[in-house]
Amino acid sequence: MPETSVADRPSAAPSPAAPTTRDVRSATRLLGTRESRILAVVVAVAAVAALASANDRILAVANFGLIAAVAAIGLNVAMGTTGIMSLGHGVFVGFGAFTAAVLADHGVPYFFAAVAAMAVAALASLTIGPLALRLSGLYLAVGTIGIAYVGEHLFVNLRSLTGGGAGRIVEAPVILGVEMSRDSALGGRLVTSDMKWFVLLVIVTLLVGVMVAAMQRLRWGRALNAIRDNESSAAAAGIAVTRARVMAFAISAALGGLSGALLAGYLRFLNPESFGLEQSIQYLAMVIIGGLGSVGGAVVGALLITALPTLLGELTSALGLVEEASGTSSTFNTGTLSLIAYGLVIVLVMVLAPHGIAGGFRKLGRRLRAGRAHKAAGVD
């Protein structure tokens, strides 16, 4: 269905030689379309509601979701925008997390540790770059599994830096004089650590999201789209394919590194085994479920996948489906149930909405508009 796939990518529509003033205008007017305004309002309301609920359990899930969202937005730069499929994204998150943790040990302020984490992850991506540059499609997917395995092996065995199999703790981060890991009082009200992180993470996710979305609309982002759609014709149109792919992969890894640094600061405990293949598949699932190439989709996918175990736990305990008896050896519990749901969600999304949630919404929006147009014209 070539017609819909073109319509799904409004940014790819004009020719590469489109006037750059339009690029800049659409980039600066990122919040200009009606959909994005609605989305912004919804996000703001949800954020305020979550904060006002002051429920640390909800906030914790949201925080983990937002941390994952930063990594998912990053993976989307490689996958959705440029077509570099990666099953090894967790490794870059790991590089970022351990870089931030090690630097924090040496008293480096958290902000600079996070910047260094991004740099280290980007550098790591350059060493793996040759793989990403030479391969495509299925071979690339299989090759990046190798990256996931080798990375996890490194993390488990570099004991002095990562704590080995037992994991390591991370120094409590301080940002602009705010102790992020402690509850404190502000004007007589309790401000929990989770609230502070939530505010920080919403800001960071928005910043990252807006920057990546703007990048997608600029000439450079369109160049990446062109590479994804047809590498030879992209090269023929004067795009430096190799440089663009390396850059996209590095940006993707850097955002993974940032997510790792955030995770290190928030969780304050890092397990080297949590940056391997399974985590990488989760990032992939977030991007796919959200919708390839869509920043908002990646955020929604990340929040959904992260919240799935909690949501399912609430649902099953409310319905009394699963007796959560601790100490029994039964494996039929919310943990396995949420894994089943996780697999099922991936399969169903691929069958029902291969363009993900974002693609589904775009389709719905088109239909509604078409319906309205019909009515306005009196056809209906």
Binding site: R134, G137, I145, V150, A285, S329, F332, G343, M350, P354
Partner: protein, 299 residues
């Protein structure tokens, strides 16, 4: 030398398991261009079916349990092809890859929910018995693994050469459009290929469960090491996949046998990542593998 021989035989047996999985990957990839990421988990499912029909629930004899597991797994693969893969393939090959990835997670979770995470024995007749061969003692199940895999691969080769269906599959893998134009029912052939991959996975699961390993829901992840084997052999060559997979199995087992003194340099459990290091090197140096066609690989 004794150690070496023992490791070599054990490695060949492990490589045979990888080979059965790798041939499943390659068969599907070659004839349809799709990558079935759930192949390892289908293998786990097959092994659990043997357990379920055998010692786990129905106490059937091993041979009967295997037969039912074969039928069940083939039926499952046909269902997957009909209900899932066909729809996804209409969208893109990547959609198939991700959809089967989700299917694999689903199978793994369902097996965990149903059977737990403890290691189980599937009641194979070899048990922990050993056989002395060339003066070294090896488990009987590894000898069976090598022999049965050899027979299966041989039979498949003959089938590809001399049966109408086999030749149709080969034709389809070379040029699906031309094959269809010449009267090959590509849809039916695709279903057959998925069923064969399912049967191969069951056999692989039985031998991966051999002493001292047993089965658990995560055994499918071990079988991922068949990917490096298939890539080493050249992803579109069946014989190549067998050679590559057996090589990976032998190298991995030898490394596991001799790695202990080197743990300070290469890290613990280095053998787990050996197949993946081989994979990365192959992809960088000779992406078409040992026997593959050159055109399909580069971006």
């Amino acid at each position: 030398m004794q150690d070496f021989l023992q490791l070599a035989v054990t490695g060949t047996a492990l490589g045979s398991v990888y080979a059965l999985i790798a041939v499943g990957f390659v068969l599907i990839y070659k004839s349809t261009g799709q990558l079935n990421f759930a192949q390892g988990d289908v293998m786990a499912m097959g092994a659990f079916l043997v357990y379920w029909f055998g010692p786990g629930r129905f106490e059937l004899s091993f041979a009967f349990a295997v037969l039912l597991a074969l039928v069940g797994t083939c039926a499952f693969m046909v269902f997957v092809e009909f209900a899932l893969v066909r729809r996804l393939a209409a969208h893109s090959h990547e959609a198939v890859l991700i959809g089967t990835l989700g299917l694999g997670i689903l199978i793994r979770a369902a097996l965990t929910a149903g059977f737990g995470t403890d290691k189980l024995g599937i009641g194979d007749p070899w048990g922990s018995s050993t056989t002395t061969l060339l003066g070294v003692s090896v488990t009987t199940s590894s000898l069976w693994a090598i022999a049965v895999t050899g027979i299966i691969i041989g039979a498949l080769t003959v089938w590809f050469r001399s049966s109408r269906a086999g030749v149709s599959v080969v034709a389809m893998s070379q040029d699906p459009v031309a094959a269809a134009a010449l009267g090959v029912n590509t849809r039916r052939m695709t279903v057959i290929v998925w069923a064969i991959a399912g049967a191969l996975a069951v056999v692989a699961g039985i031998f991966l469960a051999g002493y001292p390993r047993g089965i658990d829901p995560h055994m499918g992840l071990i079988a991922l090491a068949a990917f490096p084997g298939a890539v080493l052999g050249g992803f579109d060559s069946i014989n190549g996949a067998v050679v590559g997979a057996v090589t990976i199995g032998i190298v991995q087992t030898l490394v596991a046998g001799y790695e202990a003194p080197w743990a300070g340099v290469v890290g613990h459990n280095f053998h787990v990542i050996v197949p993946w290091l081989v994979l990365v090197v192959v992809l960088l140096v000779r992406p078409q593998g040992l026997f593959g066609t050159k055109r399909v690989i580069r971006a």
